[in-house]
């Protein structure tokens, strides 16, 4: 039940660091709001999952850090070590002297094969430290060169070397008005390659998180650190120990496996979106009260109306009444407003979670026609509160959340491709136009599958 995290590129390493921070502070916090026994087993499960024991007593994160430049990695290592709470293994990192220059082809075709053995050795060592490997969790951004290109290559290698393990790719969707000109190319190539080797893609959009920081967290000058902390909080609410079965006998022993089984068994539908409520600045927490019915109502409407946070939800959007509209052919107008889901997973953490009623999530109208709510909807819960929120709910959804962003992305990339802009940068490293076309085809297939839900 251990997860090995592979942090790829600058973005991956910074986010990974915040994730371990969030987990550690949640585990050591005194706000569990549950019995001591519960807290202890939570503590144990979480530690087993993310950290390994070392002789020094300081837990060592089960992570491999990969980057082409040394700066970010050394910063990450030192900040972690200074915290005193946890640290990285000093040998579990790999870096070079020069970067990838935001070039996907450079990362995938040049750096990847060249450094494959060393990187896989590090991964193998971490995997062997685990008594039981639940799977791999890779963090990368799609826009750059290292995270995206090298990340896609590493994911492929992981799949080849560990065919029976689960691989979850956490992907950062770049800002729409990002600084990297070729980010659309990089994103398209990354997504299509990841789709082949990975089991699921969990996406966080930079634009969305930025809005959360601005509107919900009331941060004036939003730095990358703030964005990363919000992302880390959302990821923590999914990966911290939780009861998945009907009876709370023990925490889930296979976090990635259970997640995959409930959400992405179908090979064509692998894109997952994540929503978490409530989100608010830490100093407001003490003055806020939460109720499960309120949280659940908001979460459900966020799902239906494809809202990204609990403010500004469009309450007019309603699920289609059964029998009123013919599915699939006429779904274009429907899909602009109503978000059809394939599968949803709701995680509740906090007091009195057994009183929460989730019947509204089991409405068949929310789901696609070929899957019934018993299969499509799952609920996990634990009485142990997470990260100082007395009650919190997270939703991991395999639905049309990412349909529009994906469509936009592919559209923009295609426009650039049609005019052959910047293609030479890729062909000189071995990615031919044919590879681009294959990627476009693959993503068009994904878009079409999601559209005809």
């Amino acid at each position: 039940m251990s997860i090995v995290t592979v942090q790829l590129g600058q973005c991956g390493n910074q986010i990974g660091h915040e994730v371990f921070n969030a987990i550690c502070s949640d585990v050591h916090g005194t706000h569990g709001l549950c019995s001591k026994k519960e807290n202890e087993s939570y503590h144990e499960a979480s530690k087993e999952r993310f950290f390994s024991e070392e002789k020094s007593g300081v837990p060592v994160a089960r992570a491999v850090l990969v980057d082409m430049e040394p700066k970010v990695i050394s910063q990450t290592l030192s900040i972690a070590a200074r915290s005193g709470c946890w640290k990285y293994d000093d040998r579990s990192h790999f870096c070079q002297k020069q970067g990838s220059g935001n070039n996907w082809a450079n990362g995938y075709s040049v750096h990847g094969p060249k450094h494959k053995d060393r990187i896989m050795n590090l991964v193998r060592k971490e995997a062997e430290k685990c008594d039981r490997l639940s799977g791999f969790f890779t963090i990368m951004s799609m826009a750059g060169g290292t995270g995206s290109g090298l990340g896609a290559f590493v994911t492929q290698c992981l799949k080849d070397a560990f065919p029976a393990s689960f691989i979850l790719n956490h992907v950062i969707w770049p800002y729409g008005t990002g600084e990297v000109i070729v980010q659309n190319y990089n994103s398209v190539l990354t997504l299509s390659h990841l789709y082949r080797s990975s089991d699921a893609l969990l996406v966080h959009e930079n634009d969305v998180i930025h809005k959360i920081c601005a509107q919900l967290m009331n941060i004036k000058q939003i730095s990358f650190r703030d964005v990363n902390q919000v992302i880390a909080h959302q990821l923590g609410s999914v990966f911290q120990p939780i009861y998945t079965g009907a009876g709370p006998l023990h925490y889930s022993r296979s976090p990635l496996g259970d997640l995959m089984e409930t959400l992405v068994p179908h090979p064509e539908f692998k894109m997952l979106g994540l929503r978490n409520i409530p989100q608010m600045p830490e100093n407001s927490l003490a003055y806020s009260t939460f109720s499960w019915p309120g949280l659940i109502k908001h979460l459900r409407q966020m799902l239906i109306a494809n809202a990204t946070m609990e403010e500004g939800i469009d309450w007019q959007v309603r699920p289609p009444r059964p029998g009123s509209s013919i599915p699939s052919k006429h779904s274009t107008s429907k899909s602009l407003h109503f978000n059809t889901s394939i599968a949803n997973l709701v995680l509740l953490r906090g007091k009195d979670m057994h009183s929460a009623d989730l019947g509204s999530f089991q409405d068949p109208a929310l789901y696609t026609s070929w899957l019934n709510p018993q299969d499509a909807f799952n609920l996990w819960k634990t009485p142990r509160a997470f990260n100082k929120y007395e009650k919190s709910a997270a939703l991991v959804s395999n639905s049309q959340f990412l349909l529009k962003p994906l469509d936009n992305l592919v559209g923009k990339a295609w426009n650039m491709f049609a005019s052959k802009a910047y293609i030479h940068q890729y062909t000189k490293f071995g990615i031919e136009e044919e590879d681009f076309l294959d990627s476009f085809t693959a993503l068009e297939q994904v878009i079409s599958s999601y559209t005809t839900l």
Binding site: S165, W370, L371
Partner: protein
């Protein structure tokens, strides 16, 4: 003689009862009274037999069902094992009669499926080091237990969306992967236990603790429970040994019971003839069974001879045709090309021949069942460091490397079979796609 037997019989029956597992242990009196077919005894006997059979068929101890469900279960199990006595199947479902028939059935099971031995094997105190090994060839007519399929109820028409099937298939694959990870974890932890406790065991040959023993060290207060289990098992085994010596007496007694029943039965046999046929879906009663079997064997051996002759003919015919072909080919091709082609075909033939000989060879006894894992240090090969080698002991041992090798061979042959099937499937799909207009088939 009779008096001696008379004295030994209670002892035999008592030993038999003591050898049965604690939860389903009748009093010796129950068995003896069963022959008198009293109604009160009957329902008790039904329940007893049901719990015994459930244990044998791998079921966990559950709350007892209603009596008619239990009776149906017993009848189906007896049918499965080939019990052909129609009187039992005609017994009423309320459990009010039939203790004598049950006694007969119970004794039949004792002998036929080694009921006692199976129960003893199942209820052994576990060491925790068990693993199951199976290198059997796959039997298509394999286990029939528990093959219930729950069809999706929601679909309005009788069709199922293929995406739902893909979904289910994907879930199955993920569950398999989780299971794989579980097994790996278990092996890893077992290895740790064996490694860390090496050299501590009293038994020098074993050398290390088992899981149960390690658990006992961690939680010593459980020793009482373990002791109880061990004592109970010892008592059962001793009773079993006693039973084995006194068995004959019991079977003599059963013969008298049968004789009694035959006398009564012959009076109403004529009516039973056609009702019997309707009860049993596949006819033959015990008497016809042996005769029909012999007939079947004769027929099979005759068929085998004819098939053998036909094969011989075919082979000679093919050989001659083949030589003709080879001669003509040789003339067509030049010398070097022919040699290269010949070599390639020879290799392919050798591979196929290996495959065939493997399939047709007299089977080595395949391993099946559970074994105990014992750790041996690394002096014998094994790159992964999990060296468990053969030790020269009277108990049958087999080395893990051997089992691994056999399983790898099996895996290779299954992969070959899979490739072949995929190729055939691909060809069929191409054929179908050619027939349809405007359809291209892109196979993975």
């Amino acid at each position: 003689m009779r008096r001696a037997r008379g004295r030994a019989l209670p002892g035999a029956v008592a030993a038999l009862c003591r050898a049965l597992p604690p939860r389903a242990r009748p009093a010796p009196d129950t068995l003896r009274r069963a022959r008198f077919d009293r109604p009160q005894a009957s329902s008790h006997c039904w329940r007893l037999l049901c719990s015994l059979l459930k244990q044998v068929h791998g079921g966990k101890w559950t709350e007892p069902d209603a009596i008619d469900i239990q009776i149906r279960f017993i009848k189906s199990v007896l049918w499965y094992h080939g019990y052909g006595r129609p009187e039992l199947y005609r017994l009423p479902s309320d459990g009010s009669a039939g203790s004598r028939e049950l006694l007969l059935a119970f004794s039949w099971l004792l002998h036929r499926i080694s009921l006692l031995e199976q129960l003893l094997a199942r209820n052994r105190v576990r060491t925790g080091d068990e693993t199951s090994v199976c290198t059997c060839e796959d039997d298509l007519t394999n286990s029939q237990k528990g093959r219930t399929e729950i069809a999706p109820e929601y679909s309005l028409e009788d069709k199922v969306d293929v995406r739902y099937l893909q979904w289910l298939h994907g879930r199955l694959r993920f569950q398999w992967r989780s299971l794989h990870a579980l097994h790996q974890e278990q092996s890893k932890l077992l290895h740790k236990i064996h490694l860390f406790t090496s050299g501590s065991h009293m038994d020098k040959i074993l050398g290390h603790f088992s899981v149960t023993e390690t658990e006992l060290i961690r939680q010593p207060e459980n020793y009482k429970q373990l002791l109880q289990f061990l004592e109970s098992e010892t008592m059962q085994l001793e009773a079993f040994l006693e039973w084995k010596q006194l068995e004959q007496v019991y079977w003599h007694w059963m013969e008298t019971v049968l004789d009694d029943m035959a006398e009564e039965g012959s009076m109403c046999k004529s009516q039973d003839a056609h009702t019997m046929k309707s009860m049993l879906p596949k006819g033959d009663s015990c008497c016809h069974w042996a005769g029909s079997l012999v007939g079947k064997i004769d027929r099979l051996s005759r068929d085998l001879m004819t098939v053998h002759d036909q094969l011989q003919e075919l082979v000679t015919h093919r050989k001659s045709a083949w030589y003709e072909k080879v001669k003509t080919r040789e003339e067509e091709l030049q010398k070097e090309e022919f040699c290269a082609a010949a070599r390639k075909t020879q290799e392919a033939v050798e591979l196929k021949l290996l495959d065939l000989t493997y399939h047709c060879a007299p089977k080595k006894p395949k391993m099946h069942g559970s074994c105990r894992l014992v750790f041996r240090s690394k002096h014998s090969a094994s790159k992964t460091g999990f060296g468990r080698s053969v030790s020269k002991e009277p108990i049958s041992t087999v080395s893990a490397t051997e089992v691994i090798r056999e399983l790898q061979m099996r895996k290779a042959s299954l992969e070959r079979e899979l490739k072949q099937l995929q190729e055939e499937c691909r060809q069929r799909m191409d054929e179908i796609a050619e027939g349809l207009d405007g359809v291209i088939c892109i196979s993975p």
